[in-house]
């Protein structure tokens, strides 16, 4: 692959596709401890793993104990004293931990919407860090403030920092998985509040060199695409 392919106009890996390519029922997700602890940086890998396993028909590699082990390893939080030092962790540390464990085989930073669309299609997920506004607490669809509205609830990080896996998109916005459920956010929201984005390559997408991925690519094509994205 000498150049990257173009992304479809929509893709939603949080729903099962039927044999004709039509989207069906949503996949169910766990919370990986994120309702009790600030382990979102690691729980997101549980959501990626669940997505890839469901779409490829492979076994899940990440469960809640592994997510908590990761959080323990990359932050001051400890499983033995879980009520202390629960301040979250850095996205890059989580990426490196899951790469060291062989869950993902590599990752790259992303800068543009076209890359985000393509990587959700090819890699089934884009790992983001977002500065959540308080407005997201009550919105069904996460969106920016209406034009002309000045409301401190829309200020970035008034709710806090959060890591999520984006596993779907269309031309209106992005599907995140967070706290065990699907959450849609508009592209305007994404542009306003997401401040870092990475594409992780899950090992199951490149485990069998002769088999097409659910998006229709061979392992070598996916590996080549990651190399191009890494520059």
């Amino acid at each position: 692959m000498s150049q990257l392919p173009a992304a479809p106009l929509s893709r939603d890996w949080s729903r099962q596709y039927d044999a004709h390519g039509w989207m069906g029922a949503p996949i169910t997700y766990g919370t990986y401890g994120n309702m009790q602890y600030g382990d979102c940086t690691c729980a997101a890998f549980g959501h990626l793993d669940r997505t890839v396993a469901a779409q490829t028909g492979t076994v899940q590699l990440v469960d809640e104990p592994l997510v908590l082990e990761a959080y323990d390893a990359i932050s001051p939080w400890s499983r033995t004293t879980p009520l202390e030092n629960d301040f979250g962790a850095a996205n890059l540390d989580a990426l490196r931990w899951f790469k060291d464990r062989g869950i993902i085989v590599g990752f790259a930073s992303l800068w543009m919407r076209s890359q985000v669309e393509l990587c959700i299609d090819l890699f089934h997920g884009v790992y983001v860090g977002a500065e959540l506004p308080r407005s997201a607490m009550t919105q069904q669809v996460w969106d920016v403030a209406p034009k002309g509205v000045i409301d401190p609830a829309y200020k970035p990080r008034t709710w806090g920092g959060h890591a999520m896996m984006a596993v779907g998109y269309d031309q209106g916005g992005v599907w995140f998985i967070t706290w065990g459920r699907r959450q849609y956010a508009t592209w305007a929201w994404f542009n306003m509040y997401v401040d870092e984005a990475y594409v992780p390559l899950h090992r199951w997408l490149v485990a069998d060199g002769s088999k097409l991925s659910p998006a229709g690519y061979l392992a070598q094509q996916i590996t080549d695409a990651l190399a191009i994205l890494k520059g």
Partner: protein
């Protein structure tokens, strides 16, 4: 004489209209509801455009979709291009050059329709 004055007045009025500043473009996204369009018209155009995808004739595809208008042409173009770029499981994705050409065709059509998007069962395309 009255008739001449009336003609001049109409001509001035006509010119005035022609020179009128265009209405401002309405801010906000235009979303076409493809599920509410005439399904027969969509099917007819779909049958015309599908062979052009098979042969990779994106110039003809774009021209036909454009001439069908935003409601029908936009809905069918978006649906077909999305299905082409996101094939059913077990099918290979198109080669990068072909997929880039398909996406560029849709991007040009969308630009011509002021950035409109198309609400379908496959999401907002």
């Amino acid at each position: 004489m009255k008739r001449v004055i009336l003609f001049v007045a109409m001509a001035v009025a006509f010119n005035g209209c022609a020179c009128k500043k265009p209405d401002p473009v309405v801010a906000g996204r235009v979303v076409i509801d493809c599920l509410a369009q005439n399904q027969g018209d969509l099917g007819t155009l779909r049958a015309e455009l599908l062979p052009l995808i098979m042969t990779g004739d994106w110039t003809a595809f774009e021209a036909k979709a454009k001439s069908a208008g935003i409601d029908i042409g936009g809905c069918v173009a978006a649906e077909l291009i999305n299905r082409y770029l996101a094939p059913a499981p077990g099918n290979a994705a198109p080669p990068p050059e072909q997929s880039q050409a398909a996406r560029a065709t849709m991007d040009r059509l969308r630009t011509g329709w002021n950035g409109a998007t198309f609400k379908t069962s496959q999401g907002e395309l």
